[in-house]
């Protein structure tokens, strides 16, 4: 059997602080197959960005440490690769799209130059070839007048255009995997709709695999083949989009889905809430990390941390609850 495109096993990433080693991602396991979109969903502090930075090994520059676990890309271990080897992978075979396009682009170079740079470095193209390919890439991501736009600076483009440029840059070397960390969070809804449509088109046509990090369950429903829900540093539930949205098992996933006001149905009613707030990664409770906020917590939940267990329909949920919470799908 061919190795999976990306396979993360028991990945623990953390930061050394004056309080000791603090785990931002705790034994995270994920896998992604070719052509698939995997969404990692979670609120702030859930560890979703740290996980994605670890895959790129950019976490080394953010002061983080990969303490344990494996990250296999085509079966090739990334966690112990020296940075100069990682540089040949980053932007080439795995590339990244960040949340804020304005800060992802260099303000003193034209957007064409910035895309061409990637191509000159990774594909050894000469200046002319690289420029022409950059223009092609801008056309591919739906930028009108790509020849003109390539010669412009980021401040001359709108936010949505800049995000298209960042996507063009990410796609330039024909990567096998794109990691998109909240790619539409900084954009307006109508522009977000355009960018999501673009990502889906690229996925269909180029068969690129996408690891999409988002806090928005709506975006996940739109994009995902599989979904991993993270909470306070750990994956609490993982399954296909259908399993997560239609048969959620973890009380956190369910609470998250129920606390979002809908566009149909009753209004003005008291919304479902998950009591309390998200714990800091430095002070997690004993046992299940969700126990202080869980309406179903039992004695065992305060004692023992649940691993990801198989659910009756075959997906995985980190919960001791036998029967699963009361599921109300609208």
């Amino acid at each position: 059997m061919a190795p999976k495109l990306l396979e993360i096993k028991d990945l623990t990433v953390g930061f050394l602080t004056d309080k000791g080693f603090v785990k931002a991602a705790d034994r995270v396991s994920l896998s992604l197959e070719k052509g698939q979109t995997l969404c990692v969903v979670g609120e702030s502090g859930s560890g979703k960005s740290v996980t994605s930075l670890a895959v790129m090994r950019l976490i080394d520059y953010a002061g983080g440490v990969i303490a344990e676990g494996e990250i296999k890309f085509h079966g090739d271990e990334l966690t112990n690769k020296p940075q100069d080897e990682m540089m040949r992978i980053r932007g080439n075979r795995i590339s990244m799209v960040f949340q804020d396009p304005m800060s992802a682009l260099n303000p003193v170079f034209t957007v064409g130059d910035q895309i061409a740079e990637t191509l000159r470095i990774h594909k050894q193209m000469n200046a002319r070839e690289a420029w022409n390919k950059a223009v092609d890439m801008l056309r591919l991501v739906g930028i009108p007048d790509p020849e003109v736009r390539a010669g412009q600076y980021p401040h001359e483009l709108s936010g949505g255009m800049c995000q298209r440029v960042v996507i063009a840059m990410a796609l330039a070397c024909d990567p096998e995997l794109i990691i998109a960390d909240e790619p539409t969070t900084a954009l307006d809804v109508t522009v977000q709709a355009q960018i999501l449509e673009l990502l889906q088109k690229l996925k269909r046509e180029l068969k690129t695999s996408i690891l999409l990090i988002t806090h928005d369950m709506g975006v996940a429903a739109e994009m995902a083949d599989r979904i991993a829900v993270m909470y306070a540093g750990a994956i609490v539930e993982e399954g296909t989009a259908e399993e997560i949205f239609e048969r959620p098992r973890h009380p956190y996933t369910l609470g998250l889905l129920q606390s979002i006001p809908g566009l149909t149905g009753e209004r003005g009613t008291t919304l479902y809430t998950i009591r309390g707030g998200i714990p800091g990664i430095g002070d997690l409770p004993a046992g299940c990390r969700f126990n202080p906020r869980c309406p179903h917590a039992k004695e065992r939940c305060f004692r023992e941390e649940p691993p990801l267990l198989p659910t009756p329909d075959g997906h995985r949920s980190a919960c001791w609850l036998e029967s699963g919470p009361e599921v109300k799908t609208s």
């Binding site: 255009m161 709709a193 209004r267």
Partner: protein
């Protein structure tokens, strides 16, 4: 005739001059709010939605006279607030308050929480220190904060709790009218619903009237009685929440509704993908401002600007060809 509205905008305009050159010559105007008329009824929540740069926050601030209008009137209980003297305006400030988006940016980090919440009381009320302290405790309990933590600084609180501090400050003087400017947008989903519930509870208990400004349509739908949709400085549609979401009349409203990703897999609206992006409010398109992006635009839309008129009973839309 009694006023149907607690607060009303009449032909309200707010232009920001664009200055260039050595002598700061005015070369144009950013028309952030351009001839807007609408009113908020006592006790209701009026939701104001639109994308960034549409002028919704500016409109909110002009309504409170935090920014001075370029032209037009804001009437609060029948009085034009821009004609009031500074003494009268100060009195009015007690009646109208604002909750900001970013609780960290709107709370002074060097103030203790009790001083933050007590500040409006100190400025507007002749109350002794112990009276203020009692009231602070009462307010903190009302917004669901642990009053024993009043001697702490805002950074010791989580995002949702900080927003509760901002809410406690806003209701300290028992105002009638509150502008909530993206009050829950910066919060995580699980915390957002808690703050929404709090806002709804306070409205019931204190008889508040809200102008709820947000870009998140599902949140606006949940909390609002009526909704106004803004595009490039204009209100393009006003309707009761149920009617607006069931059947938008303005094409922009329809596009906006279709663009929101829904957290479920079945029963989605058909998506209308817009071309292009919001044009600059310094140089809005001719005729209907939405026509370059409108999937239904006709010749007339290019030349003639549609007014916000009654398009159906109780509903207003600014469109030559509303969607029926």
């Amino acid at each position: 005739m009694s006023e149907p509205y607690l607060i009303e905008a009449r032909h309200l305009k707010k232009y920001f001059p664009i200055k260039r050159g050595l002598f700061s010559r005015v070369v144009g105007n950013v028309k952030a709010v351009d001839d807007v008329s609408f009113g908020v009824r006592p006790g209701e929540t009026f939701g104001l939605v639109g994308e960034s740069g549409c002028g919704k926050s500016t409109l909110g601030r002009v309504m409170l006279n935090l920014k001075r209008a370029t032209d037009g009137e804001v009437r609060f209980e029948g009085r034009d607030i821009q004609r009031l003297g500074s003494g009268e305006l100060r009195g009015l400030r007690e009646e109208m308050q604002i909750i900001f988006q970013d609780p960290m940016g709107s709370l002074n980090p060097r103030f203790l929480v009790k001083d933050l919440i007590g500040e409006p009381l100190r400025l507007h009320r002749k109350m002794s220190a112990s009276e203020i302290d009692d009231r602070v405790v009462q307010l903190m309990e009302l917004v669901g904060l642990d009053a024993t933590r009043r001697n702490r600084y805002p950074h010791e609180f989580s995002g949702g709790q900080r927003q509760r501090i901002g809410i406690a400050r806003a209701i300290a003087l028992e105002p009638k009218f509150i502008v909530a400017d993206e009050a829950v947008s910066a919060l995580d989903v699980s915390v957002q619903s808690q703050v929404l519930n709090l806002l709804m509870k306070l409205q019931q208990e204190l008889g508040l009237t809200y102008l709820f400004i947000a870009h998140g349509l599902n949140v606006v739908r949940h909390i609002s009685n009526r909704v106004g949709v803004m595009y490039l400085g204009k209100i393009v549609e006003v309707a009761s929440t149920d009617e607006l979401f069931a059947k938008p009349l303005h094409p922009y409203t329809a596009v906006l509704l279709s663009a929101i990703p829904q957290p479920r897999l079945r029963g989605k609206r058909e998506r209308i993908i817009l071309q292009g992006e919001v044009p600059s409010p310094a140089n809005p398109p001719s005729g209907c401002r939405f026509h370059p992006r409108c999937p239904f635009a006709k010749e007339r839309c290019r030349v003639e600007e549609p007014a916000l008129v009654e398009a159906a009973p109780g509903r207003q839309a600014a469109c030559h060809f509303p969607l029926f």
